[in-house]
């Protein structure tokens, strides 16, 4: 497996506080990789270390199989959307993007069309000549998102890319990011687990500067061995269903509005049995989805118990 990014035992402290405490990450090339964790877990520091914004205290960082970040070696190949960074207020949108593109080595003739195309993608083509200070927070955030994709870099690091975007623009950004799949490696750090679940094919859970979990999204959420149902609250007999599925582990929420089945074998067969039983028992089925929600997997990995249906 080609790795776009590999962190081994990376440490970083701010005074006495350990932001990264031996962080390990393996990001395959061409993946949409989600980095999740609570506030202060070390996600932003990890992104900053990878992009050379912050110097690590120890450990090994390997980008694109060519060593730690080096602005000469990696210029134009690695870009970052930092979480709280602001663009220069007096610059114009087209100008600042042109500046970044030129600095990372995009040929001058390509800069104009590339900037125009990317601005169109985030619905900002009509604000290309506006000063940054005249843009709303969400608009400025979209410009920062665009700068990370200038020159089609091999590795893009996005720290909370959707923060400040309205629902329409967030959806648009999700589609845009999904369209980069396979062409580029995109690492997305976010608190929004639903967002990560929808977009990413691999995910790592980071807590207290360490990696708790790291796998494919299917692997982490158990999509291949768990099926979950959201039900209309009703009273029904779980023992009867267990009798029909003797080798499976079934769990029902106390209020009866959720059912979880850990299965082996063919999902379609198991689903057919469960749905058949629920319909016979006149239980309304609201939603069926494979696997745990990422949120549950995350909470479980951090030691927080999750109730079925929670």
């Amino acid at each position: 497996m080609n790795l776009a990014l590999e962190l081994t035992g990376v440490t970083k402290s701010y005074g006495r506080r350990k932001a990264l405490d031996g962080l390990n990450l393996r990001v395959p090339a061409g993946s949409l990789f989600g980095l999740v964790g609570s506030n202060g877990a070390g996600k932003t520091t990890a992104m900053s270390v990878v992009s050379g914004i912050v110097q690590p205290d120890g450990g090994v960082v390997d980008l694109l199989e060519s060593g730690a970040f080096d602005p000469v070696r990696h210029a134009g190949r690695v870009t970052v959307l930092p979480q709280d960074a602001l663009l220069p207020r007096e610059s114009r949108v087209r100008e600042i993007l042109g500046f970044y593109a030129e600095l990372q080595g995009v040929p001058p003739a390509d800069i104009g069309p590339m900037v125009g195309r990317l601005l169109q993608t985030v619905h900002l083509a009509d604000r290309a000549d506006s000063a940054i200070r005249t843009l709303s927070h969400g608009m400025a955030r979209r410009v920062t998102l665009v700068q990370a994709f200038l020159g089609d870099p091999d590795l893009v690091l996005l720290d909370e890319p959707m923060s400040g975007l309205d629902p329409r623009e967030a959806q648009n950004a999700r589609h845009f990011l999904a369209s980069r799949r396979a062409g580029q490696t995109v690492v997305i750090s976010s608190h929004n687990l639903h967002e990560i679940e929808r977009m990413c094919d691999r995910v790592a859970v980071v807590e207290k500067g360490r990696t708790l979990l790291q796998d494919t999204m299917d692997g982490i959420t158990g999509r291949r061995h768990v099926i979950r149902y959201r039900l209309m609250p009703a009273s029904w007999d779980l023992a009867k269903l267990e009798a029909r599925l003797p080798d499976m582990i079934l769990e029902r929420s106390p209020s009866g509005d959720a059912l979880e089945c850990r299965y082996r074998g063919d999902l379609a067969t198991v689903n057919a049995v469960i749905l058949g039983f629920l319909l016979e028992s006149k239980v309304g089925v609201l939603q069926v989805y494979p696997g745990d929600e990422l949120e549950h997997a995350y909470l479980n990995s951090t030691g927080v118990p999750v109730q079925p249906g929670a």
């Binding site: 900053s48 992009s51 050379g52 914004i53 912050v54 110097q55 970040f69 602005p71 000469v72 990696h74 210029a75 134009g76 690695v78 870009t79 970052v80 930092p82 709280d84 960074a85 602001l86 663009l87 220069p88 207020r89 007096e90 610059s91 100008e95 500046f99 970044y100 030129e102 600095l103 990372q104 080595g105 000063a131 920062t144 700068q147």
Partner: protein
Amino acid sequence: MPWWKQTWIVARHELSDAVRSRRAAVMMVLYVAGAVTSINGFINVLQKLELQIAQTLGVEALSSAGAVTDTLWKSRPFRNMLMSLVGDRSVAMDLLSIPPIALIYGWVAFTFVPMLVMLVTPARVAEEIGSGAVRFVVPRCTRSAWCAGKVAGQSALVILALILSVAGAWTVARLRLPGMDGWAVAQAMMMLAGKTWIYAFAFVGLAVGIAQFHRSPNQATALGFIAWMVLGIVGIMCHFYAGPGIRQIWLVIELIIPQGHRMDLWRMDGAYLLSGCAFLASLGMCYAAVGYAYFSRRDV
């Protein structure tokens, strides 16, 4: 991409961005206004002086100022007085070769250029670090290229301020003194503006050096201002305390502050001029390099 090209791109962007910033625009306007007002004030004083002399002599006053000054400037008693004031015959002779109006411009330009630099440059650089804007640049170019680009861009901003101030001062002089040798004054002003720029370069380096330690524009500006004042005081102490023996230390200190090389720029002697320029350029780079030594390793 070669280092110099990265530096060039950063410098170009810095200049275009800085001229649009309110702070830089206001400071440049004030600087130009200061030069223009000083020239205008000098001409007013000349006119009053000449009117007074004409009244005393009982002759008809000239409508335009400057004729008496020109005569005075060329008279032997005035030259002798200037030599004793400056304390150095060669410097006095060099000063006398400059048209008086240009000399006034040069004095104003030299005196206020460090203030212009300290009120603009540290804030620009520190603001970029503090707002996080530098995080968009650091993954794209070396930190040394960014630092050098900031020095170059801010130095270019000073050139712009000096060109505008020369244009303003010359225009006022031309309008108020119709008999003035316009070409000679323009040449002298441009030459002095060039020397002012060399002098300012050391302060730009100092300002960029200081700003790299900070994230707050106001803090960086305050410290830049304090540094300028401290250097000024040290310069005065060097002037008065330098002497033989242990007091030679003041001569060494004088070498590492911009004020210590200011007089060299007023001379026409190429050797002094060259050494002054070389020292000031080196000082500017060294000051910036001290800041860079910290910035190159700091988390931004």
